[in-house]
């Protein structure tokens, strides 16, 4: 049945005022879909992922609904979320790999983790082993300390742990960014394998590396300053991007084969707006080459072709 998010708003409270990190995000992820989520640093990707799991004391749920498999998630209520966390929706947080407790052996850590989530480990022991083997990890990793594992091995351990309870939705936040290319490829392909094996039904893969998302995701969503700029099937978004930001972003990527000497790529001039006092209207308008008076009005995020939605007055 998948995920449906409607007009989600989550702000951070700070002394200077609210940081509007998520300001009206509407998106659906179908059952079986892997959605890639990309965008500049600070645009709200992690805030989006985290909001579906745990809204902590610094965050404030200002509005919007999240429905997963027909159930409305009580995202603002930490206690009520307990029964859904890890079982219905699970996350591999950004920096999870470096957050592994260095003084605990992997096996012991998994025991403790499952216990804290109220799961009897015995029942899952065989399945855990099976899955570790499936991602190419020998059972012996359970007796090792995090420091003894390579980055790719650690990341695969975290992936197996986060999906052990077969959640409906998994959010994977920047799980490949600290890895080198060969390991990135192995870890990304493991994500797809998890979906194919049915360990998770749908997935949101967050990274600012669009070329990785091109490899693994069915659809791609591009976020800008707390809102979605565009979402479309991956191939379509790459071939026919409609939002000016998406276009500039894609053209700034150094593709294999492009060389400085022959073709000089350009970045996107300017910087994203502060989310403390974001400009009215389209948030991209200070940097947008097409901006004019209509852009002082906020463009709605609307479907312009099947499965292709965009928030821009000039995109049709």
């Amino acid at each position: 049945m998948g995920l449906e998010v409607t007009d989600l708003r989550v702000y951070y409270r700070t002394l200077a005022g609210d940081v509007k990190a998520l300001d009206g995000v509407t998106v659906a992820v179908a059952e079986g879909e892997i959605m890639g989520l990309a965008g500049e640093s600070g645009c709200g990707k992690s805030t989006f992922g985290n909001s579906l799991i745990r809204i902590d004391g610094r965050m404030r749920h200002v509005g919007g609904r999240v429905i997963l498999d027909g159930i409305e998630l009580p995202i603002a209520d930490g206690d009520a979320m307990r029964e859904f966390r890890y079982k219905l929706v699970s996350i591999i947080p950004q920096y999870a790999m470096s957050a592994l407790n260095p003084t605990r052996r992997i096996g012991r850590m998994i025991d403790e983790l499952l216990e804290s989530r109220g799961v009897r480990h015995q029942e899952l022991r065989t399945e855990l082993r099976r899955r570790l083997l499936l991602v190419g990890l020998p059972e012996a990793v359970l007796g090792r300390y995090p420091i003894e594992l390579s980055g790719g091995m650690k990341q695969r351990v975290v992936m197996v742990i986060s999906t052990l309870l077969d959640p409906s939705l998994l959010i994977a936040d920047e799980i490949t960014s600290a890895l080198d290319v060969s390991t990135q490829k192995a870890v990304s392909q493991t994500l797809v394998q998890f979906r194919d094996e049915g360990f998770v039904r749908s997935m949101i893969v967050v990274t600012h590396d669009v070329s990785i998302l091109y490899q693994v995701s069915d659809t791609l969503a591009i976020m800008y300053a707390g809102r979605l700029a565009e979402k479309a099937p991956t191939e379509e978004l790459m071939e026919r991007p409609l939002h000016p930001y998406t276009r500039l972003l894609i053209s700034s990527l150094p593709e294999m084969g492009v060389r400085f000497e022959e073709e000089r790529l350009a970045g996107i001039p300017g910087a994203p707006p502060s989310l403390l006092n974001p400009p009215t209207g389209c948030r991209f308008r200070t940097r947008c080459p097409l901006a004019d008076a209509v852009c002082e009005e906020q463009p709605p995020f609307v479907e312009v072709a099947p499965g292709h939605a965009v928030a821009c007055w000039k995109a049709t």
């Binding site: 980055g151 060969s182 669009v210 500039l248 894609i250 150094p254 060389r259 400085f260 790529l265």
Partner: protein, 318 residues
Amino acid sequence: MLTLERASKTYRVGAFGGGRLVAVRDADFSIAQGEVVSLIGESGSGKSTIGRMILRLISVNGGRITLDGDDIAALRGPALRAYYRVVQGVFQDPFSSFNPIFKVDHAFSLLRGLHGGGLADEAWRLRVDEALASVGLEGGQVLHKYPHQLSGGQLQRVLIARALLLDTRFLVADEIISMLDASTRIDVLNLLGDLKARGLGILFITHDLSLANYISERAIILRRGRVVESGPTRAVFENPLHPYTQQLLGAVPRLHEKWGTGPRSGKADACCYHDAITTTHETGLPAMVEAEPGHFVGCANLYGVCPGDTGAVVRATA
């Protein structure tokens, strides 16, 4: 010319420093002014160790590194200070490389002492303006700000500007853009291209092959502390000869082409002689062979003598 002649580094590891870890073995290459050389390899392959040896942050304990023919390990006093002025480094994380309690102008002024007798105020200000201008910034934009008041891209450019305040001829850029956004990355890369055109020699350390391909004229592939392949970037990328290089290129996520299972050999992952390095250290290391002009590869397959391997096929075009 900055030259590494069979430069090696062994770290002491373990409880009482009893263990030995060969981090870099016999690195042999040079960087001329006005060129970007990229040093590519997986995590732990010894890239930063090479950078740190060049910067003289750590000693070389086998072979030597020379600048215009002089062994840098022998430099003392004024000659050493001169070396630190000429060879500069910029590192991965801009936020941690900068002391957060200093504003940019103060952080810059700490370098003034390195200029032998020191510079007059006016001359120093000029130098700062020049350095900032060459990274596309103006003093007014950044000098009176703390690091947290700048974006990642701005801060990384400030760090490069700081490296240019001295009489820099060579720059070691260690993973300087992996923390930056795609749109900012390209700006910093283009900046390196401009600096190169002005005569700077740059060692561009990265594990991102498409960035290396974009900016460098020569590429060096490092695996487990050994250079396994080197040559003009185009030659290495279009005609990779070492199974490890082929494997790396096969894993690069491309934009309009999905990862295939590819033609690469499954054996590449466990290249026989490189596995032997960690155990036997000295034996079984194939020499580098010049397969085409300037394009070197060290792979036993070239002689058909790789003991454990049957799969990898290497096309030598010599």
